[in-house]
């Protein structure tokens, strides 16, 4: 197959990627968009196989089959609550592939006379190795944390900033070595090795609720690693595809940081201030907590005209989404208007709550963003908070300092009555008490999320 034809096919593939992502602008067209992008990928793979540089096919087909089988099993088996882990894993494989492809390309360039070892090639190779290795290992750590193979809590090494700074400098120095002496392959593998350690160490101090930022950032890295590999291979399509993914990750990272009112360096390097809550907690909660039973809340809901439900990570943990759906249907059959108010950082990755609710057959029109939901709370009879804490903490809005000061929150406290479904008064990820729990219009409903909702449904039916 002539190269011109292959290049045209690559152009078509790149256009299909862009078109596919464009169709993601609406849930109605998104599924089609995904297949359009997949078609682009198919075209890219088929035409690459027709390249005359490809001498043997058997190994390629074996690898394609193995990868497809693993990918298909993962995609079909994974539970929706485990989607953050899945995305973390996929990010990692993307980064890993970039490391290997760039490594192979460097060996070939040095060994094959007709391939010029240009500055572009060597710099891009070093970049692929560096970004790819950080992505691969960082993603594996994120995966292990989300899967709870290792603790989801921040693991803070002493002098970690100094260690990371030294590692970063060493990686950069080794990268310069790769550029200066591309024929010394061990320099490249050293870059990869040190960057791997850096990847592990930068993600390990980051705790649960900051995961949405980390996953978005690693998503962006996996794209940028692909981009760098595009520069290594001088392949425009790789660069375009990598840039799209890179841009997507950057946008999501920005959205997540903004939704926490924290800068990216603060999330990555700040760690979370462990606040000694003790006496302050007592002052806020003492004598002001009103616990309610399922029956009391059912009576409240019976007369409510509008209910807003605020889901958080706790809903995912207790797998309560299907029970919540049943509650919504029951309320709607009684003429109550119900919708969901979703904070951008609710859950462990961007859009996590929406996927869980979609799984439970909640139509997407009912999933409101923070901007859409906040004006509605004042006209809401009952706001039900399930497994969310920091994102509904009025301290963020009302106090000028503290770990979550200035973070945009869902104004649930403005609803006529707030019901908080929670196992205990334990603080959220930020480690601070939540005055919402002690507010005059708040009822605490102490129970596991799923059981609480099931009891509530039964109580409503019994009324």
């Amino acid at each position: 197959m002539s190269l011109a034809v292959i290049n045209v096919a690559y152009l078509v593939a790149a256009l299909l990627f862009i078109w596919g992502l464009k169709e993601l602008a609406h849930p109605r067209t998104a599924r089609r968009g995904n297949w359009i992008a997949a078609l682009g990928m198919l075209i890219a793979i088929v035409f690459t196989l027709l390249d005359q540089q490809v001498l043997s096919y058997s190994a390629i087909f074996v690898a394609l089959v193995i990868g497809s089988a693993i990918g298909a099993v993962l995609a079909m088996r994974i539970r929706m609550t485990a989607m953050p882990q899945m995305v973390a894993l996929l990010n990692g494989f993307g980064g890993g592939a970039s490391v290997l492809v760039a490594g192979a390309a460097l060996i070939e360039a040095v060994g094959i006379a007709e391939r010029p070892v240009t500055l572009q090639l060597t710099i891009a190779t070093a970049a692929s190795g560096l970004i790819g290795a950080v992505t691969f290992w960082g993603s594996l750590v994120a995966f292990a944390k989300l899967q709870e193979i290792i603790s989801g809590q921040p693991i803070l090494l002493p002098a970690r900033h100094a260690i990371n700074a030294v590692l970063a400098v060493v990686t950069l120095a080794l990268s310069v070595g790769v550029v200066a002496q591309p024929e010394n392959m061990w320099l490249y593998w050293l870059v990869v090795a040190v960057a791997s350690v850096l990847g592990v160490l930068t993600v390990i101090p980051i705790g649960g609720a900051d995961m949405p930022v980390v996953i978005s950032l690693l998503n962006s890295y996996s794209g940028l690693a692909g981009c760098a590999t595009g520069f290594v291979l001088n392949n425009n399509m790789l660069i375009i595809a990598g840039s799209l993914v890179g841009a997507s990750g950057i946008i999501l990272t920005q959205i997540m940081c903004k939704a926490m009112n924290r800068s990216l360096p603060n999330v990555l390097f700040g760690g979370v201030g462990v606040v000694a809550a003790g006496s302050a907690t007592d002052e806020i909660y003492a004598g002001r907590i009103k616990a309610a039973t399922a029956e009391e809340i059912a009576m409240l809901l019976e007369s409510a005209r509008r209910v807003l439900i605020v889901p958080g990570y706790g809903m995912a943990v207790s797998q309560a989404q299907h029970a919540v759906r049943d509650l919504v249907r029951l309320l709607e059959s009684r003429g109550t208007e119900v919708a969901f108010a979703i904070h951008p950082v609710a859950g462990r990755m961007p859009g996590h709550m929406n996927v869980l609710l979609a799984e439970a057959d909640i139509p997407y029109e009912k999933m409101l963003t923070m901007e859409e939901a906040n004006p509605l709370f004042e006209q809401t009879d009952v706001a039900i908070v399930i497994g969310a804490n920091d994102v509904v903490n009025p301290i963020a809005r009302d106090q000028a300092s503290g770990p979550i000061a200035g973070m945009p929150i869902l104004d649930v406290d403005k609803a006529r009555t707030v019901v908080v479904v929670k196992r205990s008064l334990s603080p959220g990820f930020a480690g601070i008490p939540n005055p919402l729990f002690a507010a005059d219009n708040t009822l605490m409903y102490f129970a596991d999320g799923k059981k609480a909702i099931l009891d509530l449904i039964n109580a409503l039916k019994d009324l």
Binding site: R28, F93, A102, G351
Partner: protein
């Protein structure tokens, strides 16, 4: 067509999949980033998880380089690197597109 100019650089130009000067390729990179920002910023928050898994699948495009290295079999090492890279990238591609489809299939409108 520069292929028969007899000069090594030009032969190489013809041999490689896509060749351009660094500035050309940099131009494409910058324009693609801009297109990416434009397109992605229109994706609603409700679809951010499928966006991540779908874009992940797209980042599996490094499979193109992996296939060439594996198919060319320059040395055993490059073939092995290519093999593992094809597996990794294919997990990304197949896993990414399928799981995205699974998720998007669940997003329904009100009846």
């Amino acid at each position: 067509m520069l292929s028969h100019a007899g000069n090594k650089r030009c032969i190489d130009k013809e041999r490689r999949p896509v060749m351009g000067d660094f500035v050309d390729i940099l131009t494409i990179f910058v324009l693609a980033i801009l297109v990416g920002f434009e397109v992605i910023s229109k994706v609603p928050p409700t679809l951010h998880t499928p966006l991540m898994s779908g874009s992940n699948a797209i980042s599996g495009i490094t499979i193109v380089g992996a296939i060439l290295s594996l198919g060319m079999q320059h040395t055993t090492l490059t073939a092995v690197l290519g093999f593992v890279a094809v597996v990794f990238a294919m997990i990304n591609v197949v896993g990414g597109f399928l799981v995205t489809d699974r998720m998007l299939g669940m997003f329904k409108r009100k009846e």
